[in-house]
Amino acid sequence: MKHANAAATRSTDPLVVEDLSLSFGGIRVLQGIGLRMESGEITGLIGPNGAGKTSFFNCLTGLYTPQKGAIRLGGLRLEGLRPPQRAALGFSRSFQHVALCPELSIIENVMIGLDRQSTAGWLDAFLPLPAGNRERAQNRERALAALDRLGIAGVADDSPTQLPPGLLRLAEIARAVVGDPRVLLLDEPAAGLNSVETADLSAALKKLRAEHLVLVVVEHDMDLIMDVCDTIHVLNVGTLLASGDPGQVRQNPDVVRVYLGDEDE
């Protein structure tokens, strides 16, 4: 697994979805979706309510297993892998509802993002042994650097219960990026944020763009998506309606019809 991880982390292969279909009972939620999410880009995924964004996202994170189609990262087939196995391949994510532990400080929450790369064993957990202490100090440094990258290093030792939603959202993104992921999936990062917080988030997301990172953002906030994304895919009733850069998507008559309503109806 480690070799696969290392290979995946070095490569700049895109995350490719081919002919993906998902249904619950007899209801088809996603039908024949095929798209590429490139390394070094920020890819946006939008669509009206019920378009299948969350279902598609859950297929990427490993929560759902599609009945048909493939999800590939380079030579690796992913569709049968559970979330912990995808984490081992360098997948990381944030959550629509902030999922930080209230009993841990912000920096401790971020340090969990380094858990899969840490080697401290049970003896290190109970005794102040040099190797364990060293690793803990290194992890703290890295977590602090990730918080700093998102501009919130000042709240490192605060409790999540004391902070506003905007900061918590950034802290969650810090946890997701601290382990230098290969694929970063952000689930509605602007949900519940005010306009100032959304602007901060937008600036933070642009800073995350990196050559080896496939960054996917599912979002309702069109301004944010248009501002940060290089490529946007639009879903509608379980199918891929349009793909392109923000300008192309904005001009696309199908997208306009879906978002603004058809005048003939």
Binding site: T61, L63, R82, P83, P84, R86, A87, A88, F91, S92, R93, F95, A99, L100, C101, P102, E103, L104, S105, I107, E108, N109, M111, I112, G113, L114, D115, R116, S118, A120, W122, D124, A125, F126, L127, P128, G132, R136, N139, R140, D157, D158, S159, P160, T161, Q162, R175
Partner: protein, 333 residues
């Protein structure tokens, strides 16, 4: 689950005080108070009579077992009414190692902890998908079974009469001093080990998986790993408590580890506010050890008075200011 068990104010307070850089003044104060309290406990046998020394020795042992239940609540978000079994495993390990190998507590204590952990694993594996009330009932079944198992193997376990633990653990110290100081040392050691544990990556992973299992899984933490580790550690702590209890009371018998033992451990844990600190767990230990003694003359009224005392303590503790409650709850751990 956890929010049901732990009041939210306690959580936020814990988090606030568990950061890497708490106010230095406050830290100095609590360290100073802790050392003073410990010195007082160390000096106590010089002024207190043999009866109190003996009772407090039992109280320290009970406090360790209470910590084991609190550990499961805090790190696993689960309630057990079967921890008397793991305690019993530790106690019988000490007694049997003395009976068959003539080894004293110092040699048998680590073995007892390992036996407890293994038993915890054996129980946790088949029950790893259970939680909440279902897990609690499963642990209860364990507690109900233990006395029967001990009686079934009476040639080994000594049946109803049980076994004696009489070997000295520390040669030059009097027996009564050993029965006081060894449990005290074990309690302090367990608390210090758990304090170190709280800073580990394993502790952080357990706490996250308790509050957001799906988030923890996305970072590679597995649910079954969390359950097995939590139960094994908790059972090992309970076994350490049982081992020193066997040494302090100098005897083990099936009567010492019934369903009631397990229920009282849970009661003690509630009274201590699921504390992992010396002070908090001692509060639970004192309640567990002293209230039955104080009520001994009340005859048939004992259960009712006991229940009333429990209510009194819980309501009284909840009436304390939040900062004091957090301190009792072992905020820094």
């Amino acid at each position: 689950m956890s929010d049901v068990i732990l009041p939210n104010e306690t959580l936020s307070r814990d988090a606030r005080t568990s950061g890497a850089a708490p106010e230095p003044n406050r830290r100095r104060w609590s360290t100073g108070l802790g050392i003073l309290g410990l010195l007082a406990l160390l000096a106590l046998p010089l002024v207190a009579g043999g009866y109190w020394t003996f009772t407090l020795g039992l109280c320290f042992a009970n406090a360790i077992a209470i910590i084991s239940v609190s550990f499961l609540v805090r790190y696993g978000g689960e309630v057990s009414i079967g921890h008397g079994v793991f305690m019993g495993a530790g106690a019988y390990t000490v007694a049997l190692m003395e009976k068959y190998f003539a080894l004293s507590l110092l040699a048998s204590l680590p073995v007892a902890a390992v036996v407890g952990a293994l038993l915890g694993l054996v129980f946790a594996f088949p029950s790893r998908h259970l939680s909440g009330i279902y897990l609690a009932v499963a642990t209860m079944a364990l507690a109900l079974a233990l006395p029967e198992v001990l009686l079934h193997f009476s040639t080994v376990t000594g049946g109803y009469g049980g076994l004696y633990v009489s070997l000295d653990a520390v040669p030059l110290l009097s027996k009564s001093a050993q029965r006081y100081y060894l449990p005290l040392a074990a309690l302090v050691a367990v608390v210090l080990l758990l304090r170190q544990f709280r800073r580990s990556r394993q502790a952080m992973a357990l706490l996250l998986i308790r509050t957001s299992a799906y988030a923890a899984e996305s970072f590679g933490v597995r649910r079954s790993w969390a359950r097995l580790s939590c139960m094994a550690l908790s059972a090992a702590i309970a076994a350490i408590g049982g081992a020193v209890l066997a040494f302090s009371s100098s005897t083990v018998s099936p009567n010492s580890f019934t369903l009631w033992t397990s229920i009282f451990l849970l009661v003690g844990s509630v009274v201590s506010l699921y504390s992992l600190s010396v002070v908090g767990s001692l509060l639970g230990g004192l309640f567990l050890t002293l209230v039955p003694l104080l009520l001994a003359g009340a005859g048939d009224w004992v259960p009712i008075l006991y229940g009333a005392a429990l209510l009194g303590v819980v309501l009284g503790v909840n009436g304390l200011p939040e900062s004091l409650r957090a301190r009792l709850g072992g905020g820094r751990i």
